[in-house]
Symmetry: C2
Subunit: 446 residues, 2 copies
């Protein structure tokens, strides 16, 4: 039996897409930077079907690229050429919220927006938010250990995983969906699968830990003379802010571009070199906590908003960075992380390393040292620019990927921030769990 026939026998003819035009949307990522041709796109409707699909692929020696909402930024969910794309979007089962454990069961194909809706209806919160919420799926978020602006409070997606169900390369199932917060019987296979980007197993369902919902919010925009002052501000106020919910930063370069793009004027009269957005959220009254922390830290110059309109106006300055940069050209975009106290020297080093006519824009999540590096000017296809930035990341004790993942885009650079012994251990684990190398080949490990 041919591979396609074998797949049809498992999921039915309608769920195996072979026509080029029907496959097309599954073969390219949304940035259009990564694309490849798939042998077929298969859309199983249950974990058992995923087992059967993986077994069929193993029998045919066919490589498999798992795919969720296909919103990734590092080419990890599109075929490189000839693989079977395993789309999980039909696994949309979404349970009722368990009020005793504050957990909910979600199929891998449930979108983040749907999960957030279910949480809100129970008076709770999903604990994670990213811009791609309407398309990004639970399975993809977990496979990539996504981050976002709320990680400073709740951790990355890893912290939301109370358990999961996944299918390993040999078709065996890891099933830990009882929602046991404490379960240290043997190795944490679910934890190993989180962030493994589909190279060690295919996630089919997640037991998701919800968090308390905080409806009262207060936001401050603090203009500062340097990124070094931004890190100092955080150190001064963070221990005083148990309700800290987000801590973002951007610089004058980015703000200029944003204001130009939005045709708006600066919200602060005195233009500064760096800006920090600090948001607190609580059941009630976070403004008082924020004001007390600012007084203790000697912060005098801050724009504070505690109503929705004011907050949205300030958040827009941060959130419009991506579109403002895209409007200005095709940038080199790198998601990296550095220890918070190295942010300023890292930023200076990046500016210095880039050509004098380049526009270097850094912004991101100050609270967890997650920096989005954007460079406008140099040829977008010149990998030397990316590599130069990543080498500086390594030199400052950082990571070449904070929240986007390694995918195929950065697999060749993993050695920059991982020791040879660590990479050898990763390769040994990959070989142990997927000896045929059929799960998402080329992603994570080059």
């Amino acid at each position: 039996m041919s591979l396609v026939d074998a797949l049809r026998a498992v999921v039915g003819e309608r769920q195996v897409l072979v026509d080029a035009d029907v496959r097309a949307p599954f073969e390219v990522d949304w940035t259009r930077r990564f694309r490849g041709s798939a042998a077929a796109v298969v859309r199983p409707g249950s974990a058992d079907e995923v087992v059967a699909v993986l077994r069929a692929c193993a029998e045919h020696g066919a490589a498999v690229v798992p795919q969720g909402g296909n919103t990734g930024l590092v080419g990890g969910s599109v075929p490189r050429g000839g693989e079977v794309v395993l789309s999980l979007t039909r696994l949309t089962g979404l349970g009722q919220v368990d009020r005793a454990s504050l957990q909910v069961d979600a199929g891998a194909g449930v979108t983040l927006a749907a999960l957030q809706g279910r949480a809100r209806a129970a008076g709770l919160d999903a604990g994670v938010d990213i811009a791609a919420r309407d398309s990004a799926t639970v399975g993809g978020l977990v496979a990539c250990d996504a981050g976002g602006v709320r990680a400073v409070r709740h951790g990355t997606v890893r912290a939301r995983v109370a358990g999961l169900e996944a299918v390993l390369a040999d078709g065996s199932i890891v099933r830990r969906t009882s929602g046991l917060l404490k379960d240290n019987a043997g190795y944490d296979l679910p934890g190993l699968l989180v962030g493994s980007e589909g190279t060690l197993g295919v996630i089919t369902a997640v037991r998701w830990r919800l968090v308390a919902r905080h409806d009262a919010r207060a936001l401050a925009l603090v203009p500062l003379a340097s990124l070094a002052e931004a890190a100092e501000l955080l150190a001064a106020v963070r221990p005083l802010l148990p309700s800290l919910d987000a801590c973002e930063f951007f610089t004058d370069e980015g703000l200029s571009l944003v204001l130009e793009h939005l045709r708006a004027s600066a919200p602060v009269e005195l233009r500064a070199a760096a800006y920090v957005l600090i948001e607190c959220a609580a059941a009630a009254d976070p403004l008082e906590e924020l004001a007390a922390a600012f007084e203790a830290a000697g912060v005098e110059d801050a724009l504070i908003a505690d109503d929705t309109t004011g907050r949205e106006r300030l958040w827009r300055l941060r959130e419009a960075h991506t579109e403002a940069i895209s409007a200005a050209g095709i940038p080199h975009k790198l998601d990296v992380g550095v220890p918070i106290d190295r942010l300023a020297p890292f930023a200076a080093a990046v500016h210095e390393a880039m050509p004098p006519d380049a526009r270097v824009i850094l912004f991101g999540h100050l609270g967890d040292g997650n920096v989005h590096v954007n460079v406008l000017g140099p040829d977008p296809d010149d990998d030397a620019v990316d590599e130069a930035v990543l080498r500086l990341v390594a030199g400052h004790g950082g990571t070449i990927s904070a929240e986007h993942g390694i995918g195929v885009a950065k697999a060749g650079w993993l050695h920059l921030t991982r020791e040879p012994g660590e990479i050898a251990a990763m390769r040994a684990i990959k070989a142990a769990l997927d000896p045929g190398g059929l799960l998402n080949p080329g992603a994570v490990l080059a």
Copy 2:
């Protein structure tokens, strides 16, 4: 060169203990249930020395049992016979609290009490507490993914690990101590080492995530007609209690024993079948939140304490269980977990399965379904009693270990709550990272 000479060459003669009486305290656990003779006890003073010790042991084909404070309950840190005990208690480096990230670097040998002290001095909290805090070490807590009463709020020790340094069997070092909250570059080797009980690597240092300190506390003891009502109570109030800090349970059997042991009278006039302790902690005023939640849930009969004396008196009823049970005989003690909504049927099944003259006492952490099963009466050496309980755990969708670990005590029963495919994956990982099988042989995987 002999193994002992090779070890002496690494750490110096004084740090290799070979005399039987000097080795003795390292060869038996504190319950005196597990013991074995060690070839030597070696006490390295740095991660580099750990590397050299592991390399020397590998050259001599000598098995190694890593040991922290030796407070474990499942025999995972004492020799079975002839291994080298690798004691990490000299790794006591403890850094200053990083206020921007709320993290602190701690050597594997730092005690939990010392870590808690450092956190408190910075106005923060370690986020974990267990009774053995004065002896239990950071390395041991992480290797076993310890739990405790605060896990309902902060998660288990796993959630406290912002990074770690560990030595693998081949002497290579996993070093992720930059404290990057977001770092998804490659597989989460630190996460795999958490809870692996020294079978995949030796943890030498941890980057620990601290949490906010909550000084205002309110505690309620709620008498209920059944354990089923306890689970219902939790489901009714939990979504209303963002400041929930602990949620414990015990039953009339345990309380009788405790009151007898303490020679005290019952704190509630009407004796009940089950009791729930609910503690909230916040920067200020958790009592109001607690009272509002109880009103919404229709709880009328509760003892509430918001001063230190009153809280200590109520907590004593829960905390005295272990000593009261020990005073009454040598019990079968099993640390297990079941989904919260299965607690009542599980408890009924355990009572039914035990001999009629046995005293069956269940208590523990309701908020995370962690049950400590104690059975007084049957021969303490009769493994059939333990196995019967663990089979019931499996039948109720639970885990045979919640917070104590598998060690050697439960390795033979791992298959009860882990699928064959999962155990095969664990064995494959073990073989990949420790092909010689030299790290803590016999623990976790039989």
